[in-house]
Structure formats: structure tokens, C-alpha cells
Amino acid sequence: MSSELARYIGMRFIQFLVVVFIAVSVNFFIPRLLPGDPIESLIARLQSAGGSQEMDSQAIIDNFREKYGLDKPMMTQYLNYWRDLFRFDMGVSLSSYPQPVSQMIRQALPWSVGLLATATLIAFTLGSVLGALLAWPRSGRIIRTIVPTLLVLSTIPFYLLAMILIYLFAVLWRIFPPGGGASPTLIMEWDWPSFVNIVHHGMLPGLAIVLGSVGIWALGMRSQTVSVLGEDYITFAEAKGLAPRRIFLRYGMRNAMLPQVTALALSLGHVVSGAVLVEVIFNYPGLGALLYNAVRGQDYFLVQGVVLILILTLAVLLFIIDLIYPLLDPRIRR
């Protein structure tokens, strides 16, 4: 059995590598097949930004072409691209020239991961528990009132929900700041005040994500639980004389969770695209906002870098879920 497990993990890892390979390659080729020349547009931008009118533009262009090997054959460029990636070199930002893309990503990534991972996990866990309770015939009236209310919240368009939250909590009651990742005056340290400050800023976007999705998780879990509660093993568990709590948790929820985890894996893409919206609305310094600004500023290298990191993050998360899943479902260890 453990050799089966090893084989399973091996297969998943190979899949992971293939996904990464394809993602990186697509990310390399697509911009090069599109019309337009990023370098020329960079130079144009730099010149129009003023300052160095006297610049010898042709020299700069040549300089860039050489630096990025754009004068070399495609295959060489491709190999260089891989080589640069391993050095975490993704070029420089055009809109924040000459800041390296890798550095900008490194600054933005922790914000996104922190906010989205926390909020998604809370929404997922809360929604799953509430949904399961909603399906459980013994749960009380409170559950039957709360959960449908949350469902309604999840149907409100996200930007509207976010605006309502900002209005209520930041404008009307002034409990949370309306945006930003931390106070501008905060000196970031690994200490308690920094932590509190960051959490305080994360509350509103986090709340928006949780409220916007908890109902969806609850709905999914409710229908999974309803169908699991109809299974023969639930009846047999009752015939054994088990306590209702035990049946609910170990026989009911435990099985209803399995498709939920699959759904989580499938929805990770949405989580990432949702990130753009959240971060833009709440002016949050994460990858989503970075991507949004990069697209608006036609910042080729930055767009490319962020997209690549997003895809890699997704691949890593899927890989992790793939690894967790056989622990949850013994039937999966193929």
C-alpha cells in the first residue's frame, strides 16, 4: 500500500512538473507571437516621460535587445528564459523602471497569499460546517436562519458588497480602514504592533471575501451532506446505536467533505481572479493589484511575471491538495 502511495505521489509530481513546464513555455511564446515590440514601447515611454531627451534611443534599444537576447534565435531565447527564471530574473518593470519584476512580485506575494489564503480557508471551513449543519435534521432554528441569510449575501455582486462594507465599516462607523495593506507610517517589523496593524487593514477585504463566498461553500456542503446522510452507512451507524454527534462528524461530514475539497481545488482559479477585484477595490498591495496596474500600464514584463507566478502558485496549491486528498479518501491511493 505504501508503494501505491509512493506511485500516486510520484504521478502527481510529474503532473505538477508538466503543468509548470507548459505554463512557463506558454508564458514565453505568447507575447513573442503577438504583434508589437515591448522594447520599442519601453523606449517610447521612457522618452515621453521626459528627462533624457538626449538619449541615444537606438543605443538603448540595442542594449536591451542584447540584454534580453532578443537578437538571438528563438530557441536560444527560450533556453535563456529558463535560465533567467531559475535565477528569479524576470526582467525589469517598464512602468516602474528600472525596478526588477522579481522584486515587485516578492513584495506583493506575501500580501496576497496572507489575505486570500486566510479568507478563503475561513470561508471554506465556515461554509462547510454551516452547510453540513443545515442538512442535519437535528440542528436548530438558529442555523436555519443564519445560513440562508449568508446565502443571500453571496449573491450580491462582489463590488457592491465591498462598497457596502466600506461604507458601513470605514465611513459610517470607522472601525476598519477603507483600504491599504498597512498604515503608511508603520515601520514593518516581526512584532505585535505590525501584526495587529496588518490584520486590522485586512479585515474589510477579508470580510468581503468571506461573506461573498461562504454561502456558496455552505450550499455545496449542504447538498453533499444531504446525499451522504441518505447513504447506507449512515443508517448502519444508527443501527449500531452511535450518538448523533458521532454519526454527524465521523460518518456524515467526514464523507461530505471529500467533494468539497475537490471543489476547493477547482475554485482556486476563481480565488486568484477574485484577488484582482478585491485588491483593486481595497487598494491592497498584492499581486492582483500589481497585475491590474501592469495591464493598464502595458508593462509587459511585469504582466508576464505576475501571470507566471499566479499559475505556479495555482499549480503548487493543486499539488498540495492532491497530496492531502489521499489522506482524506483512502480510495484515491491508486
Binding site: 448502519f236 443501527a239 449500531k240 446505536g241 452511535l242 450518538a243 465521523r250 467526514r254 464523507n255 480510495r331
Partner: protein, 338 residues
């Protein structure tokens, strides 16, 4: 049928179970009565849809909507199971009366090891046992049903159909219940395994001295196992008596046709070959439920519902032919047209 109440471990009286449907209640189990002495083996036979599983679930008080226990008593040592509190009911299940459910293949929790599922059952009733004692009981329980101790560490999907059936039986007998209800424990198994499972059930029964209700639709298997046979038709027990008499001199016309339709009792065959269909169970009129298919039917059958009559010692039948007749008259040619 009267042999002193003291030895009866299970006494079912006028059990009624209805399925609430849009057109009204479907009387899927109608005034079913039978009793079991300690160690007795009762076979409950009837075609698919005759209400056997509905009875089994009601005996465990596991009926769920749309099913509803509409009346009757299920007496376990003089306590009515249908009147217990939830807590008492939980204690009674498995300890006093245990179910080997229909569809044992899907009755094991797919994400729990077999041993944990047995331990769960024991722990629900015996908080006093320590880990080692439970471990010992698991190994014994598995051995009793012919399974290796290593099965405890396996997940259900790693077991064959027959092994799953045995594991379910190990769980059902883990607290040495006085009554075991086995609902078609051999369905979905091949013939060789079927026979082994029935033998295992017999051995378990002997060892525990438990009374068993074996439910099935296969007269061969039922006859092989049982002391007493009850025949169900459309929610009623139409005949109940010692296995020998049921097979050799059936008194109820349905039982008779059932046995005639078998090519030979030694060859195991599913029930088939009686013309017509059982009635719909909603808005049933007065009268015998078998009347539309019965070659002996006469006017009274369509007007009055037959009650159980004693036709021989320990032998009852619900048919208007009794007590006027001693035994079933021969089926005449004119009536036997279908």
C-alpha cells in the same frame, strides 16, 4: 403459536408502517405479527416490494420519512422498542437487537478502517472497556465471521463483497445481541459465497444463542436456514409456520403458487412465474390483497380482509378458505387458466 411469553425474545404485534405519498398513505406493512423464541430462526420471504425491508427497519425503529410507523408494538423482553426514549433506543440497538442491513456492501463507512468501525460500535455501548479489551473483541469478532485479524486495518474498498458482508456481520454481533435481523445478507453475492455467508450466520447464531430473522426472496436459502417461515405478500404476513409444513403443505394460495413456481427446492431460484402484479398500496379497498391473482378467490375475498387463522399447530394463514377447509383444495383446471 402459544408457548409461554417468557421465552419470547421478540414479539411483534400488529406492526403497521405507512409511506406518506401525495395520494395518501401507502400501507407497506399492515398488521404484521410474529414472535421469536431464544435461538429461533425465522425466515421472512416475499417477492421484491412485499415490505420485508420496511419491517426490518421498523424493528430497529430506523424508519425515516416518508416511512412512518403507524401502529403496533415491538416487544423486546417486554419493553416496547417503539416507546423508548432516544437514549434508551440507542442503548438497545446493537446490544439487544442488531441489524445486518440490506446492501451491506454500502453499509461500511468508506473512510474508516474496519477495525475502527467495530470499535465504534463497541465503544458506543461499553465505555468501561480499555483499548486492549476492545482490540481483543475486534479480533474475536472477526474470527467469528471467518475473517483474518489483519482485516481490522483495511478500508472497505480493499475488501471483496463477501468480506464486506462478513465485516458487517462482525459489527452486528459485536455485542452479542439477543435478536439479529439479517435483510437479504446474500443478495449481490455469487452462489458459492451466498452459501458460505448463510453458514457463517448459522454458526454465529448457534454461538450466541441469538434469535434470527433472515429476510430473503430465495425459498431455497430460506428453507435451508430457518425453523419457521413467514410469507409476506403486499405488506402482510399471509402465512407463518414450521418450514417443513410450509414447503410440503402450504395453506395459503400465494405460498402454494410460490412453491409451485420453483423448479425444485434444492435448486435455488428467485421467485417468479405467478401471473399478475401485487396491488398498489395506496387507497387499498377492503378485501384480500391477493384476490386479483388468486385462483381460489370468491366473493367474500373481495369484501372482507382475511385475518390470521390457526391452520395447524404453530401454523397460521390469512385466508378465507380457513377454517372451513383443512388444507388447500386442488387448483381446478378452469381456474388455472393464466
Amino acid at each position: 403459536m402459544n408457548d409461554g411469553d417468557k421465552t419470547r425474545v421478540l414479539d411483534v404485534r400488529d406492526l403497521e408502517v405507512h409511506y406518506d405519498t401525495r395520494e395518501g398513505p401507502a400501507k407497506a406493512v399492515d398488521r404484521v405479527s410474529f414472535s421469536l423464541r431464544a435461538g429461533e430462526r425465522l425466515g421472512l420471504i416475499g417477492e421484491s416490494g412485499s415490505g420485508k425491508t420496511t419491517v426490518a427497519m421498523a424493528l430497529m425503529r430506523l424508519s425515516r420519512p416518508p416511512a412512518r410507523i403507524a401502529g403496533g408494538e415491538v416487544l423486546l423482553a417486554d419493553r416496547d422498542l417503539l416507546k423508548l426514549t432516544d437514549a434508551e433506543l440507542r442503548q438497545t440497538r446493537l446490544r439487544d437487537i442488531a441489524l445486518v442491513p440490506q446492501g451491506a456492501m454500502s453499509s461500511l463507512n468508506p473512510v474508516m478502517r474496519v477495525g475502527d468501525q467495530i470499535a465504534d460500535a463497541i465503544l458506543a455501548h461499553r465505555r468501561d472497556l480499555n483499548r486492549k479489551a476492545i482490540r481483543t473483541r475486534i479480533v474475536e469478532g472477526l474470527a467469528n465471521v471467518g475473517l483474518d485479524p489483519s482485516v481490522a486495518r483495511r478500508f472497505p474498498h480493499e475488501l471483496s463483497g463477501g468480506m464486506k458482508q462478513r465485516a458487517v456481520m462482525a459489527i452486528a454481533t459485536s455485542l452479542a445481541p439477543k435478536v439479529i435481523i439479517a435483510d437479504e445478507p446474500t443478495s449481490a453475492l455469487d452462489v458459492v459465497v451466498q452459501r458460505q455467508i448463510i453458514q457463517t450466520l448459522g454458526r454465529l447464531q448457534d454461538g450466541l444463542g441469538a434469535a434470527v430473522v433472515l429476510i430473503g426472496h430465495d425459498m431455497g436459502l430460506i428453507a435451508q436456514f430457518s425453523d419457521t417461515v413467514g410469507v409476506m405478500y403486499a405488506g402482510r404476513v399471509v402465512e407463518l409456520g414450521p418450514v417443513q409444513q410450509i414447503i410440503e403443505t402450504p395453506r395459503h394460495p400465494y405460498t402454494r403458487l410460490l412453491i409451485d413456481s420453483l423448479p425444485g427446492i434444492r435448486e435455488r431460484k428467485a421467485l417468479r412465474g405467478i401471473p399478475g402484479l401485487p396491488p398498489r398500496l395506496v387507497n387499498l379497498p377492503e378485501g384480500c390483497r391477493f384476490a386479483a391473482r388468486c385462483p381460489f378467490a370468491f366473493d367474500r375475498c373481495r369484501a372482507e380482509t382475511p385475518e390470521q387463522q390457526t391452520v395447524a399447530s404453530y401454523h397460521v394463514a390469512a385466508c378465507h378458505l380457513y377454517p372451513q377447509h383443512d388444507s388447500l383444495p386442488p387448483i381446478t383446471a378452469s381456474e388455472d387458466t393464466a
